[in-house]
Symmetry: C2
Subunit: 317 residues, 2 copies
């Protein structure tokens, strides 16, 4: 096992791939005060990267830049080795093609110091599938961000079969150090967690559009004017905990449980066993952490009003 | 066809059912300055209603009450007829049981003046299923709100096979008059639009918890720290329009289209035909209404920052 890195001592990050996600990571690390070495084989990579960083900079400036943060700390390198060789952390954000990811991660691995963690932004491949060609697969992890990576806190971290636990822990520690909210997953679940949730919703939306049941605009309005206003404050479980009134999730499942048999989506529901019911109820109680339903309702109400005002203020006129 | 009501002349609303949703509607109509007549057969209905309205009132006061709005404008009646007889609009929010809804809507219909629209808050039944026992089914519509009805703007409006178009139009006009965002649906889609989207996500979440793939808290965190921060400003379609970078939805579908075959959710995706692709692309372009990707990115970024700050400020310490 290599010597563990002090994540707070990392001052240089390599970003491989300069698309929407890779460019977003570049903007994030620059705003956090890092020196960023970026590599992308596309001929217009530097220009595209500059446009992404320039577009993100007003938001990042409004959020507050770290001491010493500057767009001048970005270097677009001519070769992969020049980017990853001096890096204390590597973030790969290449296109979602498995053979490309396999080859690229092997190349990155070969050119990166052995004690440095290499994370992939993949939105769906398992690291077990991607790490097969690397000589040192034990330091390869998934670090899956959300667009835009410079604003959305969530990063899902999970290793593959050949990944050592220290690499997963170090990736999680580094992301937290740079201001991210980390979910460390014990197992490789296809699509991870957030994408599975979002993808279920997205596929239902595509079915509706394909069948002429709703328009693109109706779908977007249904979310932005509806449940989308609740989700920044309480996730789907805690939201339904409140839908149960004073009885919480237990009442909600007992009352609406039968609707899991209704054709409200093309996705079949699991059997609502006593065990699943109890797991949902206990999970909500754990998450509420002693806060009463009335307290959560008041919190939700304040948040919905504040979110609506925030969005109104941020919209283009 | 009855004489069309001037929705702005309605000053009295009847709310039948005093659970979380019915009570939320009562709070909404009180805050908008209406006289509200509420009926619920439960023995503790008045007390429960008072608690719901009291809990909502600070948020509604912060939002701004209409002229003359007061909690004193609520009367809990002893009979159904006393509630609906004097009403200019009726909102039914009884428990989700089909036979109960069928009987109750027939009773409401019998006691309500013939030119008054009767709307059901049902979260999933089709009005065609519910209106079968009513003598005047032509003025029965679905007006499906989201919890809490006094804050979330969305109301989905749809009629049944026996509903006349004037009733659908009048319900939509009345809801808009009281500050709601209305989606009028042409056809009865089980679960309507927002619930289908939300239900797909919810069922995927239940599967994950049932299989030990994620905890309740991980699911909620995945949304509140992830895609949930984008959805108040841009719905799922416009969000993915931006995930495509400068190429928008067209690039996104061409690049991520193959992932619709991936097991990222238990919900099978539709075939991504050229027709569906074009419908998604054109829908996003219509919705963007000439706004550039760069303009939408800037709007999204401002909104995400503002939403995060809003939620932080609203959270319990």
């Amino acid at each position: 096992m290599p010597k563990r890195t002090d994540v707070s001592a990392v001052d240089t990050v390599a970003c491989v791939g300069a698309g929407v996600i890779g460019g977003g990571w570049v903007a994030h690390f620059l705003a956090k005060g890092f020196r960023v070495l970026a590599y992308d084989p596309a001929p217009d990579a530097a220009g595209r990267l500059a446009r992404i960083v320039d577009a993100a900079w007003p938001a990042l400036t409004a959020l507050g830049l770290a001491e010493g943060a500057s767009r001048d700390n970005l270097t677009v390198t001519a070769t992969l080795a020049e980017a990853v060789g001096p890096a204390g952390f590597v973030q790969e954000s290449a296109p979602e093609k498995l053979d490309l990811k396999q080859e690229l991660l092997a190349e990155i691995d070969a050119a990166t110091p052995s004690d440095v963690v290499i994370a992939s932004s993949t939105s769906g491949y398992a690291m077990s599938e991607m790490q097969v060609a690397a000589a040192a697969p034990e330091r390869l992890v998934v670090g899956h961000p959300f667009n835009p990576p410079y604003l959305i806190p969530l990063v899902e971290v999970v290793g593959g079969r050949l990944t050592e636990p220290w690499a997963v822990e170090e990736a999680a520690a580094f992301y937290r150090h740079v201001g991210k909210s980390v979910i460390t997953m014990a197992d490789e679940l296809p699509g991870f967690i957030a994408n599975r949730l979002q993808e279920a919703l997205w596929r239902e939306a595509l079915h509706m559009v394909a069948n002429g049941e709703a328009t693109v605009e109706q779908i977007d309005t249904a979310i932005t004017e509806g449940p989308g206003l609740r989700w920044p404050v309480h996730g789907p479980c805690l939201t339904f905990h409140l839908a149960g009134g004073e009885g919480g999730m237990a009442h909600m499942l007992d009352h609406f449980g039968p609707s899991l048999k209704s054709p409200w989506t093309r996705l079949d529901a699991p059997e609502l066993t006593a065990e699943l019911r109890d797991r949902m109820v206990e999970g909500c109680e754990d998450e509420a952490g002693g806060r009463s339903i009335a307290g959560l309702v008041a919190e939700r109400d304040r948040a919905i009003i504040a979110v609506q005002r925030a969005v109104e203020g941020a919209r283009d006129a």
